[in-house]
Symmetry: none
Subunit: 262 residues, 2 copies
């Protein structure tokens, strides 16, 4: 028996909006710890990891570990039927092949329940080791989204270079080149507007903008984004989910001297 009651239902709506374009089908894993997901995108290039800790739910009952395979497009379609102020409760019986989403309007005047078929998805759950990163950049998520969107109008890949002073985003394409430099800035009135750089060593890595622009769909989940970079490691683009956990996107850097990217 599984029953998870999330008062701020809009969180789950936003989570699905942020991953449904990247991942078609995925297993949601429930345990006493929380509600989580780990999945490769449909082209098997990037990886998404979501965690919503049990403490973040108003009510969290998970008798035994459960892995529920869902089509994220269909799940998103159902969640779109929930109001932004609705309380969402997710229910599943043990050994059931369906999951039920219940939506309660803030006023309790409208109560909906949507039942969705589960599916069998074979997924290797990768252990992601904690790593030391050469540089970690924290910046306003909207700014990061804007930069990735702008650069994508010029080129296909972005080079992210971090120095103590700032972070540089560069691209090149047929019509020209672009460099955007963001200065480290911790002295801003509002902490969510700060750009903070923790750097152990200089790092400069190249990524496909197509994926970065998918990741930034998670912007509504958090005012800030954290980008963790190391040579030879996938970049981690993390959006913290207040009081509950995070959504993290992993993407391997491009090898610089490849003849032709994809």
């Amino acid at each position: 028996m599984l029953e998870l009651r999330l008062v701020q239902g809009s969180l789950l709506k936003k989570v699905l909006e942020s991953i449904k374009d990247l991942v078609n089908d995925a297993n949601f894993d429930c345990s006493a710890t929380g509600f989580s997901l780990q999945a490769m995108d449909s082209s098997h290039v990037s990886l998404v990891a979501l965690l919503l800790r049990s403490e973040g739910f108003e009510h969290y009952r998970c008798d035994r570990k459960l892995s529920m395979g869902m089509n994220l497009g269909n799940m998103s379609r159902m969640l779109k039927c929930a109001g932004n102020d609705d309380i969402i409760t997710l229910k599943a019986d043990d050994d059931s092949d369906t999951v039920t989403f219940m939506f309660e309007s803030a006023t309790q005047d409208k109560i909906s329940d949507f039942e969705m078929k589960l599916m069998d998805i074979d997924s290797e759950h990768l252990g992601i080791p904690d790593a030391e990163y050469q540089a970690i950049v924290r910046m306003p998520s909207a700014e990061f989204a804007r930069i990735c969107k702008d650069l994508a109008t010029i080129g296909d890949t972005v080079v992210i270079s971090v120095t103590k002073e700032g972070v540089k985003f560069s691209t090149a394409g047929d019509i020209g080149t672009a460099n955007i430099v963001l200065r480290q800035n911790t002295t801003v009135d509002k902490p969510e507007e700060a750009t903070i750089i923790e750097m152990n060593s200089l790092v400069s890595l190249t990524f496909a903008l197509r994926f970065m622009n998918s990741f930034t769909k998670a912007t509504p989940l958090s005012n800030t984004v954290t980008i963790s970079l190391s040579s030879e490691l996938p970049v981690v683009v993390e959006y913290k989910i207040a009081e509950m956990g995070y959504i993290r996107f992993y993407l391997a850097p491009k090898v610089e001297d490849e003849m032709e990217g994809d």
Copy 2:
């Protein structure tokens, strides 16, 4: 060496928005006087003339006359990467085949530079003689845009007729006809809402609405528009650019008794 610093960068963004649909490629001409452009639209029917005087720039350095051929679509794409409050600096080395747009955010925390390839464009620079016009109408630019948009839903051409009392915009199409009369009105609280007519002789001319509706893309540049009319002369639709210059569109009247227009 060329270096033009424009504090109100949104002006340049708006200028490009207003001409990029009309003209594909054009030469920007820089001289000590200012930054200008003159180009036929891609169908070689209408003409655009832009002037941004050097005095309007915070910093204006132009060592020698320079003509820079740009693809306006690509230039617009790059300018879209500038914030509306950004300071835009345009740089080019002599004999360089590129131009650089630098964008500085108001806070100086974000500095971008975009380099664009220049192109060779052969353009005959027409001398446009100052002319006496039979009638000059000044009116709110938004009103003019609305009229052209509305009339285009009925017909393909507009007849603009000016009398001392007012200006009439007429069209006819399959579904019917339309006439919009604007009375001269100088007694309005705000001068930008006035409709002012200077008339030497009655004039009534026909124009393709398709082009008029392209011209009105410049509406964000000025609250008022000036329409100068004479038989046998192209109409001039002018939007003044505060403190800096103007953008003018020229379009030849249709000959009335042609069998079929274009």
